[in-house]
Symmetry: C2
Subunit: 337 residues, 2 copies
């Protein structure tokens, strides 16, 4: 039984482990500071497929295969897949895992999906539903850009607060079998909307959601940022990160020492002309699986809070003048050497 | 701990109850055979709001309020909301429950969402995450039509196999407190794609997914259709229902006696000119909460299998020539007088 620690925070009472992880990214991500850490990079946005949507399906399938390989498992051993992505009707997962015969739990959390799917798998194991589950998500610059903004051919200008959707996918395998990283606990966020209507400033819209989940998790676990080796947010980018640090400081939470944002880690924003940094479900998913988990396995990081943040608007809702509802889900990872 | 009965089927070991249910529908649903059973009907597709998307938000909020009222609870007592809908980026739930402070688990299962959200809440309670959770979904003829097909003003012709998206929402409150209907078990379906590419025949595309989940559930629980008072599918409509009955008969599963489809129950398809029947997340959600659960409470139905079926394509994937991946999730309800 998961142990409720408060309104948001809970811990897993059974040991639940990250048995494996895998990822794949595109060229821009491979050219970034973490480039050498990814399992595989595809230079072509189409990944050799007919459409970019098919390419994103391929990203999810490949990230899962890489995670299975690292865990020493075959796909047919999985008892559950929990996935979601940014595309309308979440088609990357739906097409990626059709006719596999594996029970499928479809999720929508926008860029919070890596943490959401990990919590889903953790609770599935905790509840007794399964013993081995895969959590994954993806995003793709080309499919997201034409769905949320403009066709690539249009060459639309982007303001400095805009983020660049990461082309990439990350997958985790969760299991009851002992391995070096344990899923210790987490928190499902609630939906926060502070009235930001500029969908070129999603970091600013999401920062209050990240603060809320983090603040409650710290309070309910009686901990402070100094108790962790590192705290990561999914994809706030430079604007959102600054907003979060400012809001956190005003709430008495010091994020100066050990806090990083995956959206700023994945690109060299200046050299690569990436404006406010990376975004997309694949951003936190690929940084988690290429940087955070390997560092936990080798013991460099032992106690980590990882928040994926999602902006839950749609192009329709933005055109209708609505503000941007946001959410942040949190996973707490511990080294278990 | 949930008890795994096989690859798909599981039962809840803790008693988990449906503490309350609520719904709201539009005029066409109110004019149908179940019209008098709904909690509330809105004659206006806009429900007095500025946009039909806002109207759909209102449907979810109202269904939840009705469910809370029936359960004798206040919204702030909820520890989790699990929701999803058909709109791009699932905006009905995101806008419906922003700034409520309630942890939110976003789902995507297309028209399978009522069963998916119910399973999510059931397992959340089973895992210890929470004691009181809301499962809900919605659909809206106007928002779905312009997103998936044509603007209403275009007046596009519909082929006889097409279904009519239900305007409506249904919500359940799940709890550990004893009440007359118990969530006994269920099954997460896997994604089935038999190659149907006609998105005016979603019933035909979804029928094989319904068969697969039902077949495994019966096999893994060592039961047959005759063991249940009733078996319902979400929204196969007349074409899909005929396909399912045919496929089931060929598999030795007799659905002649006690099987009904919510898509055919909600409209008088001939008098109301509804072609193959109703569809949309709100179809199975409103029939479950207006017809099935009240009959279980009064004891007319005691042992029920309820499958919600979802077609997981998007307009983009259909335009790209892809076939329609489908899924069916199952919930098993028992009277517990």
């Amino acid at each position: 039984m998961a142990k409720r620690l408060g309104k948001y925070a809970f811990s897993f009472e059974q040991p639940i482990y990250i048995a494996g992880w895998g990822n794949i990214v595109g060229q821009k991500e491979a050219d970034g500071p973490l480039g050498s850490l990814f399992d595989r990079a595809e230079p072509d946005l189409y990944c050799g497929k007919e459409t970019m949507e098919q390419a994103e399906v391929f990203l999810q399938q490949t990230a899962l295969e890489n995670a299975l390989a690292r865990a020493g498992l075959k796909r047919q051993e999985l008892e559950l897949i929990a996935a979601g992505d940014l595309l309308n009707q979440c088609i990357s997962g739906a097409y990626g895992f059709r006719n596999t015969g594996i029970p499928y739990w479809g999720l929508y959390g926008a860029c919070s999906t890596m943490a959401l799917s990990t919590l889903t798998c953790g609770l599935s194991i905790e509840s007794g539903l399964c013993r081995l589950a895969a959590a994954l998500t993806s995003s793709h610059f080309g499919t997201a850009e034409r769905q949320y903004r403009y066709p690539l051919e249009y060459g639309g200008q982007r303001p400095p607060s805009a983020q660049h959707t990461v082309t990439g996918s990350g997958a985790l395998i969760l299991s009851k079998e002992k391995s070096p990283v344990r899923l210790w606990g987490g928190a499902f966020g609630s939906i926060v909307d502070q009235g930001v209507t500029d969908n070129n400033n999603m970091g600013g819209a999401m920062a209050p959601a990240a603060l809320k989940t983090l603040q409650f998790y710290l309070k309910e676990t009686h901990s402070s940022p100094a108790d962790y080796d590192a705290i990561f947010t999914g994809d706030l980018g430079s604007v959102g990160k600054a907003v979060l640090m400012d809001l956190a400081a005003k709430s008495g939470i010091d994020l100066e020492k050990n806090y990083q944002d995956c959206g700023l880690m994945i690109y060299d924003t200046t050299k690569q002309d990436m404006h406010a940094g990376g975004s997309g479900c694949g951003c936190s998913a690929s940084v988690l699986t290429a940087y955070v988990l390997p560092k936990m396995k080798e013991g460099t990081l032992k106690n980590v809070l990882f928040l994926s943040t999602g902006a839950l608007m749609s192009p329709i809702s933005v055109m209708q003048g609505e503000s941007i509802p946001s959410i942040a889900h949190l996973i707490h990872l511990k080294g278990d050497q």
